[in-house]
């Protein structure tokens, strides 16, 4: 492995390994992903684009500071479905430096901007200046204003079950309180769930604003304490809160930088644990775009006594990454919070899961790549 690999693996292992490299690594990975998306858009469009306008997008992508945002994944998914025009519009929407862009969208679809979902079709045009953004298509026109570092839709729909609320942090920037059903263990289908053209019949269930407040309190606790503030903000742009009683999958490759959490009352400490755990998934997703951590086409299965079930090296590595970071987080919190005993319990809980469910699987694994082995060694060393 070269020094670049050590940098990236360290930066994604935990905030204590190589914090100074973290933001540049995140940016590089996001840029790499975006370049791949642009290449695919150009290939799929086959010369149907306004070359000059698209070249502007490419130039902007290469020179702008780029965030790890769901807009990238949505564009990638659109081009993957054979909608390069929609993908190009999505990218243009994501970059504030692009003031105008026009493209014919042959198949109706949705684009995403800071939590808002906009349905477009036909000739679609983006105009942006002086803190004002307008997106028009044959579906109609929607207008946004810039407020607290995000684009906020001017129109307000009474009874809408998709409420976006700014968090007041540089990142994560917003929470979406959604009343849509979410399936346990599955990341919500954001674009399909949103009712765009009319107010939904259902209403946001109670507790949405309390949960957003809980998230804000958790993030505030983080800011007061430690390196995990930067760790979280490096990869989490928005938070989607699903109704009570659901435990959605936290992350999806289709929505980088957007994490989903349930609305149940967890308390600040467990909420923070949940957010950092979701951030860990984002970092592993980033790493997977750069390096294979496990040999392609190979896997190992191991028995977990405590659960009387089986796990794989891939699952164990992802779980270990999360467990170690929660242990480190709680160790930091323990030093400063009002209830250090509670933080210690959370740390010990993760330690026992790490040792009983991951350690024996990963320690002798023959399918970890050099990068995967290095990551595991760094993780386990960080808590010894």
């Amino acid at each position: 492995m070269n020094s670049s690999a050590f940098n990236i693996l360290d930066a994604c292992a935990s905030p204590f390994a190589r914090l100074e490299a973290q933001s540049s690594c995140t940016r590089l990975v996001a840029l790499s992903l975006m370049r791949r998306v642009l290449t695919n858009i150009r290939r799929a469009a086959g010369g149907r684009f306004n070359e000059l306008a698209f070249a502007t997008i490419e130039k902007t992508v290469n020179t702008s500071p780029l965030n790890w945002r769901p807009e990238i994944g949505i564009a990638a998914a659109a081009v993957g479905r054979g909608d390069p025009e929609l993908a190009a519009l999505q990218i243009a929407l994501a970059y504030d430096d692009i003031e105008s862009y026009e493209v014919p969208v042959s198949t109706a679809g949705c684009v995403y901007l800071d939590g808002s979902i906009i349905r477009v079709s036909g000739k679609s045009a983006l105009e942006r200046n002086d803190g004002f953004l307008k997106l028009s298509s044959s579906e109609g026109a929607q207008e946004f204003i810039s407020a607290s570092g995000m684009w906020v839709e001017q129109r307000s729909i009474p009874g809408d079950d998709w409420r976006i609320q700014g968090l007041g942090f540089s990142r994560p920037r917003y929470c979406i309180a959604s009343g849509h059903k979410a399936s346990s263990g599955i990341f919500p289908s954001v674009l399909r769930n949103k009712t765009v053209t009319s107010p939904s019949m259902s209403s946001v269930d109670t507790g949405g604003s309390e949960r957003v407040a809980e998230i804000e309190n958790a993030l505030a606790l983080l800011c007061d304490s430690n390196a995990y503030s930067g760790w979280l903000s490096g990869v989490v742009d928005g938070i989607l809160v699903t109704p009570s009683g659901t435990s959605p999958g936290s992350s999806s490759p289709e929505f980088p930088g957007l994490i989903a959490v349930g609305r149940d009352d967890l308390g600040v400490l467990r909420r923070l644990e949940q957010l950092v755990g979701a951030a860990c998934q984002q970092y592993l997703f980033q790493l997977s775009l750069v390096y294979a951590l496990i040999d392609a086409g190979r896997e190992e299965v191991a028995y977990v006594h405590s659960r009387r079930s089986y796990t794989t090296v891939r699952r164990a590595l992802a779980a270990a990454h999360e467990h170690v970071n929660i242990i480190l987080l709680m160790n930091e919190i323990e030093k400063s919070c009002d209830n250090p005993g509670a933080a210690r319990v959370r740390a010990e809980r993760r330690r026992v899961m790490l040792m009983s469910e991951c350690n024996h699987v990963l320690s002798g694994s023959a399918v970890l790549t050099d990068e995967g082995r290095y990551l595991w060694d760094r993780l386990i060393a960080s808590i010894e």
Partner: protein, 285 residues
């Protein structure tokens, strides 16, 4: 059973220090997704002060990835069955038919009445004649038989255990009606303290079936209601790192009703013999 005892103890400590009752601790462990039997085992171990052995090395089947077979000593051995609590494994083709026959032929003229080591401190360490064990056996010490030595090395490889911590091979013959009543293979920690001090505690048994009796002769584990049927060349492994009835390794050799039954046994110890009493050389049991 192998556990991550140290981290489990720390977690339970932290929960109890936080004011939880032991029932609430059990609920917390259940919330982790743990199996109820495992929770019972961990909590019982914690309450008896035994939940500290996370770092202790124990013999275990040296396979990964649920392989259906593995190669040891150049021989492909099949994994027929594996159990985790107690740790039991049945391996097929551990010995060839020729090896089984050769061991029986070697042992037959050396057979003596089997002895048992009793759990009361007054009995001789060499063992005594007992109705509990109506069989004959021959002890084949290291260096006496090249084949027995090679099989001991094979056992060491299969269970990742130092050969210096494996006792001499015992070849045992059961005639019709002969049996071995339910017993544990570990030494009683109190009654056999001197024995343990000199040569370490037994932690696992490897039982090699040298023939397949026509009827009867199963190895039975009453605690878990398991019966292992002798098949020529198979190896039965079971581990009991806790020298107590909690190990669930109570077992018996059930009477055979036809023909004869031949087995060879290796006991694995937690350390090599120190030979301090001069009766045995170092690293020899």
């Amino acid at each position: 059973m192998q556990t991550s005892g140290t981290s489990e103890k720390r977690y339970i400590d932290s929960l109890l220090e936080g004011g939880m009752t032991i029932d609430q601790v059990k609920q917390e462990l259940q919330d982790l997704g743990w199996h109820s039997e495992y929770i019972r085992y961990v909590v019982d171990s914690y309450e008896s002060g035994g939940l500290v052995a996370g770092a202790r090395s124990i013999p275990q089947l040296a396979i990964r990835n649920l392989s259906g077979s593995f190669v040891v000593d150049g021989r492909e051995v099949r994994v027929e069955m594996r159990m985790y609590r107690p740790a039991v494994a049945l391996l097929g083709s551990f010995l060839s038919h020729d090896e089984c026959t050769a061991l029986v032929d070697f042992a037959r003229p050396r057979l003596r009445q089997s002895m048992v080591v009793l759990g009361d401190g007054d009995a001789p360490e060499e063992g005594v004649n007992a109705y509990a064990r109506t069989s004959e056996q021959a002890s084949i010490k290291r260096g006496v038989s090249a084949l027995a030595d090679r099989i001991r090395d094979r056992v060491a490889g299969a269970f990742a255990w130092p050969v210096s911590q494996i006792e001499s091979m015992q070849v045992v013959r059961y005639d019709v009606g002969a049996d071995f009543t339910p017993h544990h293979d570990y030494f009683c920690p109190e009654a056999h303290a001197t024995l343990i001090e000199r040569g370490g505690q037994r932690v696992a048994t490897v039982l090699l079936y040298l023939n397949a009796p026509s009827a009867g002769g199963v190895t039975a584990f009453p605690d878990i209601e398991l019966e292992i049927y002798p098949q020529i060349g198979n190896a039965l492994f079971f581990e009991y790192s806790s020298a107590s009835t909690d190990s669930l390794t109570l077992h018996s050799g059930v009477s055979i009703t036809e023909g004869e039954k031949w087995v060879a046994t290796f006991f694995l110890r937690d350390r090599a013999s120190n030979g301090s009493d001069g009766r045995k050389s170092a690293n020899e049991f």
